[in-house]
């Protein structure tokens, strides 16, 4: 190690390497799934609509990527009246 290195601040290449590794692990896993959330939303909506009347805008599908797991969150607001028809 040279004396100049000793006084210099932390190097940036290891950070670049780490960021790339995490990012690419996710991107590789989701190849061709860029519209996965949109597809899921439509299909979930279709299944729900068979049984209850729902407002399209009240169905939220979101995906969040964590370091180890990805979570899919489906939030559907069903109006009280709509349930009556299902019976």
């Amino acid at each position: 190690m040279s004396i100049f290195r000793f006084f210099s601040k932390q190097t940036s290449a290891p950070t670049a390497r780490e960021r790339l590794q995490v990012l690419l692990a996710h991107e590789r896993a989701s190849v061709g799934q860029s519209d996965l959330v949109a597809v899921l939303r439509e299909e979930i909506l279709a299944v729900i609509a068979k049984h209850v009347q729902v407002d399209r805008d009240k169905v939220n599908v979101t995906m969040e990527r964590g370091e180890h797991v990805t979570t899919l969150e489906v939030d559907i607001e069903i109006p009280i009246k709509a349930g009556v028809r299902a019976a």
């Binding site: 670049a16 390497r17 790339l20 690419l24 991107e27 590789r28 061709g32």
Partner: protein, 271 residues
Amino acid sequence: MAKVVVVTSGKGGVGKTTSTAALGAALAQRNEKTVVVDFDVGLRNLDLVMGAERRVVYDLVNVIQGDAKLPQALIRDKRLDTLFLLPASQTRDKDSLTPEGVERVMAELRKHFDWIICDSPAGIERGATLAMRHADLAVIVTNPEVSSVRDSDRIIGLLDAKTERAERGERVEKHLLLTRYDAVRAERGDMLKVDDVLEILSIPLIGIVPESMDVLKASNLGAPVTLADSRSAPALAYLDAARRLAGETVPMTIPGEKRGFLGKIFGRRAA
């Protein structure tokens, strides 16, 4: 048998055109009949880097649309009679490249050449996918920098999915060409190292081209790097890469790493 090589990267400005010209010339210098094909319709530049910009009459799109025969559009290099250029069109819109047309031209080129080097446009649109469509081998040009590495990874995915070979269940042979590499900065920890990029992309390395003034100088002159000054550091790197592409085993050297004691001290203090 003819080999089709695509030089691609996803990201722009990493050195695809420079590398196409340099590798094409290096292969032609081995006495193998080589054509470099510009797929960047609308933004052609291979003609300029090759120093043939004033000799373009017909182009790839003319051939595809039947306005010219292939031999009319091919430009023979003035320095090497084994080297040819098929320029891209500058004016027409990029939709004029059709999959059928490109297939026909590639089939005809295969009959006449040992090497067909396709210079891909940046991006992942039509031009880029058509450039890689018929490739047997791919040279993925990457800079040791996060956005370039990410885009290269994306392109590797496309090569495994969208090429003729992939659709036949075969593989496109992929090779990493690391360009604009600065061994001193990498050693100092300010730039991704060769091994970092290799580990992330996990494809075999075909060459390391150092960041060098000689590259700009060559393009100023309109000569492929390997022809402008065949003893410059980037030229040597491209000549070795071409030999590896042709199947030879050549030991890999990291340009600029052989520094003496004084070089180490002063090299680190500078920049």
